[in-house]
């Protein structure tokens, strides 16, 4: 590409083209080169769309739950939630009236939980969801396996 640019400048120096033509040619060369960055971006990992929670547990074997449900005690939970749904849910929190938040704060304080819900802004929770795609929880114990990830 530098070679083409040099040729344009050479033609300008020799008087074969005018300065305006040289400028147009160099601009055209720049436009040809510009599509390359999106190509590099397309190779990056696509943004995840779903939050998955997978729990496989053998714990119920022989206990009341296993017998009540007539199974072998193996339980499986497979949940897929669109991240967009989480965002929409979070945005709903902005509708909660301030007096309700104050009352919730008072109840939380009475229960010994010192969290000020009025300080919890929807944009903060949205940021949290934005970064959920980097989250991976993998718990593997003898009787249960829990996986939380984004896909």
């Amino acid at each position: 590409m530098n070679e083409q640019r040099r040729q344009v400048l050479q033609m300008l120096a020799e008087g074969k083209i005018t300065a305006e033509e040289a400028e147009r040619l160099i601009d055209a060369l720049g436009r040809d080169r510009s599509p390359s960055p999106p190509e590099a971006g397309s190779r990056t990992k696509p943004r995840p769309k779903y939050l998955r929670v997978v729990v496989v547990s053998e714990e119920g074997a022989g206990d009341w739950a296993g017998e009540a449900f007539g199974g072998d005690g193996t339980s499986r939970i497979n949940i897929r939630v669109p991240l967009q749904l989480l965002r929409a849910g979070v945005r709903l929190t902005s509708l909660v009236p301030p007096q309700a938040l104050t009352r919730a704060n008072a109840e939380l304080h009475r229960s010994g939980v010192d969290i000020d819900l009025t300080q919890l802004k929807p944009q903060h929770i949205e940021e949290l969801i934005e970064h959920l795609d980097e989250l991976t929880v993998d718990i593997d114990s003898a009787d249960a396996k829990v996986q939380i990830f984004c896909e």
Binding site: S75, Q84, R87
Partner: protein, 86 residues
Amino acid sequence: MIPRLVTVGWRPGDGRWRRVHVPVLPALLVLSPLLLPAVLGGLVACVVFGVSPLGALRGAGRLVWALPGTRFEIEQGRTAVLVNVR
């Protein structure tokens, strides 16, 4: 995109799956005589409790629009429940 099909499935102890496929748009049309008063009631409740009715409608719309792709599958031994929104 608005949900088009909701599949609710359950498997009782006998091990056989039962599935109900609910096409959302026809179901909404059928339920519209009930839905309209419900929405109006919701709007009145919003005004009473000091919540912006427009914001509530927009929030509910966003929530419904984001539903496709949701899947819940819970299995306990031979019994299971499945909810799938497409």
